[in-house]
């Protein structure tokens, strides 16, 4: 795109101009700065960081990566007063200002001497006249001199002046680049500080994750408790009321209708027949309402169980896995080995993650392994961690890397969130075998 290229070129030229301008500024400010050096030096613990910050600001202005040394969000004055006792003051600010001063000296001479030479070369031919002859002399070098009295005689000084100007600007540009490099290099926090900052960040993230997992656990517990104490109990109460109603309706049916004697005589009045019919309908309605309530309770119970199985909370991972085998949609056997102390040491986020991973693995096995497949779950626990193998003898061929395997990918992620690993071995036709290893306590929950 020519337009963009043009824009880029203009931008580059703009930056170059800026760099040159800044170097010129340094040159111009050189003498005043030298004059001001004595008071500045006396208050060096304040002026040095300020000068360094100013240099960084200027460097940033020209697009260099020179972040301010002042921490964001803190009070600038406090930072400035305390800067002198920080290592970075001596490691970064002092070299930056001293280096900058050296650069400024160079700028001063380059811009000053070079500027004067270029100026004379450029202006000389115009003022050369018989009254004011211009003498171009290289006598000391090559013993050659030339005296000119008109522009025509020394017009060739103009291209030399132009070349000199270009060289001068080039030098200043190079100085600008060098200054930017130096400023950037002396602005980056050093590796140690960086490592400390990153470590702090990792700790922060880990505690954030722990908080999140804890909050999620607490939320599960809250939902489960509310369903148990709320909806479930009210539904049970409703079932109880319906049961009592059915009982009464049953008794009512047993009581002789008012027209009983006529019935004995073989004459059933319409009202008695209607009454019996209504009672039967009532009982049928109550019974079907009862079935509805029971079905609701069943589905509610499965929901509650899916959120957080009570057996897992109250009895731990091993009985919960045994219980899971009874619920599994395919024949499953569970074996658990390990010392009681180690089994008891498995912490809550690990039990929850492992339990739901195994439940999902069994659901997957029932879905993909084939109708005659069987599964087994083997858990072994040592003080160093736990291993759970979920195997089936089904069709195999599960590929955790295929785009459709979001379940396996999610499972892997959840296992990794407790510092564990999930290996999936599923050769086509050879059954699927998930091997889950995890520490008893997630790394982020350790003291």
């Amino acid at each position: 795109m020519p337009v963009q290229a043009d824009a880029g070129r203009a931008h580059r030229w703009g930056r170059r101009g800026m760099l040159v301008l800044i170097e010129l500024l340094h040159a111009v400010a050189f003498l005043p700065l030298v004059v001001a050096a004595i008071p500045l030096l006396l208050a060096f613990h304040l002026t040095l960081p300020l000068l360094a910050e100013a240099s960084r600001g200027l460097a940033r202005f020209t697009g260099a990566d020179a972040p301010s040394a002042a921490p964001p969000g803190k009070r600038r004055w406090a930072w400035l007063w305390g800067r002198v006792v920080q290592a970075d003051f001596w490691k970064q600010d002092v070299p930056l200002v001293l280096g900058g001063a050296v650069f400024s000296v160079i700028d001063f001479f380059v811009a000053g001497v070079g500027g004067i030479v270029v100026g004379i070369l450029a202006v000389g031919p115009f003022i050369a006249s018989p009254e004011q002859p211009l003498e171009v002399s290289l006598r000391d070098l090559v013993g050659w001199s030339y005296t000119a009295t008109s522009f025509g005689q020394v017009w060739w000084l103009e291209p030399i002046a132009l070349a000199g100007l270009i060289v001068l600007l080039g030098l200043l540009l190079a100085m600008g680049h060098l200054r930017c490099r130096m400023t950037a290099a002396l602005s980056r926090p050093d590796a140690e500080a960086r490592l400390a900052a990153l470590t702090a960040e990792v700790g922060h993230l880990a505690s954030g994750r722990a908080t999140l997992v804890d909050a999620f656990d607490a939320e599960r517990a809250r939902i489960e408790r509310e369903l148990h104490d709320g909806a479930q109990q009210r539904l049970v109460a409703a079932a109880m009321h319906l049961g009592t109603a059915e009982l009464h309706a049953g008794r009512l049916a047993e009581i002789d209708p008012p027209g009983g004697r006529e019935a004995d005589a073989g004459v059933i009045p319409d009202s008695a027949a209607r009454r019996a019919e209504s009672l039967a309908a009532l009982r049928a309605q109550v019974r079907s309402a009862q079935e509805e309530v029971e079905a609701s309770l069943r589905s509610l119970r499965e929901t509650v169980h899916g959120i957080r199985p009570a057996i897992l909370t109250e009895r731990g991972l091993a009985p919960a896995l045994q219980d899971l085998a009874g619920r599994a949609p395919l024949p499953t056997i569970v074996t658990v080995s390990g010392e009681d102390d180690d089994l008891g040491a498995v912490t809550s986020p690990v039990t929850t993650t492992v339990y739901f991973a195994v439940a999902e693995a069994l659901t997957n096995a029932a879905k993909y392994a084939g109708p005659t497949a069987r599964a087994r779950v083997e858990m072994s626990v040592t003080a160093g961690g736990l291993t759970v193998i979920v195997g089936d003898d089904g069709a195999g061929g599960a590929d955790p890397h295929s785009p459709g395997a979001t379940g396996l990918a999610g499972m892997t992620q959840r296992v990794e969130s407790i510092g564990g690993r999930l290996l999936i071995d599923s050769p086509p036709g050879g059954g699927t075998r998930l091997t889950l290893t995890a520490p008893l306590t997630p790394p982020w929950a350790r003291e």
Binding site: R315, A318, P331
Partner: protein, 261 residues
């Protein structure tokens, strides 16, 4: 029949008390937590009039977890023969097994029913009667799950996937009950005995576990009473329960449940 009722939800406790009273049962005490339940039963027993049945919820104060179940297990241990019915919101084999695993488990009636079962009033009252008489009643839904879990043990027995070597343990405080199923080999022995039962006999045994009498089983399976009696006798023989053994029905059911729960 004198009943002690324990449930922390006043709504359910009152409703249940009303229902039992309407059916002619006497609720001698209502309590709202596990400690009060223990104290109340102790008080009644000291007075020389222990309740005929204790009906308790699983989840109760003080900890709001399985305190009711623990209290029931303690009471069965402290007062052998005390009939206990546990009402639960969970289909959990381990709970049932712990309830039935006491040192003298065959001595007294026990029941494990899902809460909604109280809505089937006549069934519920029948369950109370069976338990009060020393029988065992387990919720049909729990049984259905145990039968599914049991079929997996059977396939392990066929040797498709060999069980891993090594001890089986449960993870928590009352692990003894679960641990002995592999360590002591009790489950295996019972499992083998059960494996000798025909599918029909297993079906009959499961219905017996629901607390049904022979004639009720016959009705459910649409066969004659005689056929059921024959199955039952065969079950007793295969499970090694000679006629002189007391309460063979309960023992057969317990054997079945121990192997499955």
């Amino acid at each position: 029949m004198r009943i002690v009722l324990a449930d922390d939800a006043a709504l359910l406790r009152e409703g249940l008390a009303g229902l039992l009273a309407a059916a002619g049962y006497e609720v001698v005490a209502q309590v709202a937590d596990a400690d009060a339940l223990r104290e109340e039963v102790e008080r009644l027993a000291m007075a020389g009039a222990p309740p005929d049945v204790v009906v308790t919820d699983v989840r109760m104060p003080p900890t709001g977890t399985d305190d009711g179940l623990r209290a029931a297990i303690d009471l069965r241990a402290a007062y052998p023969g005390l009939p206990v019915v546990v009402l639960s919101a969970y289909v959990a084999g381990p709970y049932l097994r712990e309830l039935l695993d006491g040192p003298d488990a065959g001595a007294g009636g026990a029941g494990y029913l899902l809460k909604e079962r109280v809505g089937r009033v006549s069934d519920f009252l029948h369950s109370l009667d069976v338990v009060a008489a020393g029988g065992v009643v387990v919720d049909p839904e729990v049984l259905a799950r145990l039968m599914r879990a049991g079929s997996s043990s059977n396939f392990a027995g066929r040797g498709g996937l060999e069980p891993a070597q090594g001890a089986t343990h449960a993870a928590d405080g009352r692990r003894a009950g679960l641990a002995d199923r592999a360590d002591g080999g009790g489950r295996d022995v019972e499992g083998t005995a059960l494996a000798r039962l025909t599918p029909r006999e297993q079906e009959v045994l499961a219905l017996m576990a629901e607390g049904l009498s022979n004639s009720q089983v016959a009705e459910r399976l649409v066969v004659s009473d005689g056929a059921v009696a024959k199955h039952v006798a065969s079950i007793f023989a295969k499970l090694d329960l000679p006629p002189e053994e007391g309460n063979r029905r309960v023992r057969a059911v317990l054997t079945w449940l121990r192997a499955r729960a």
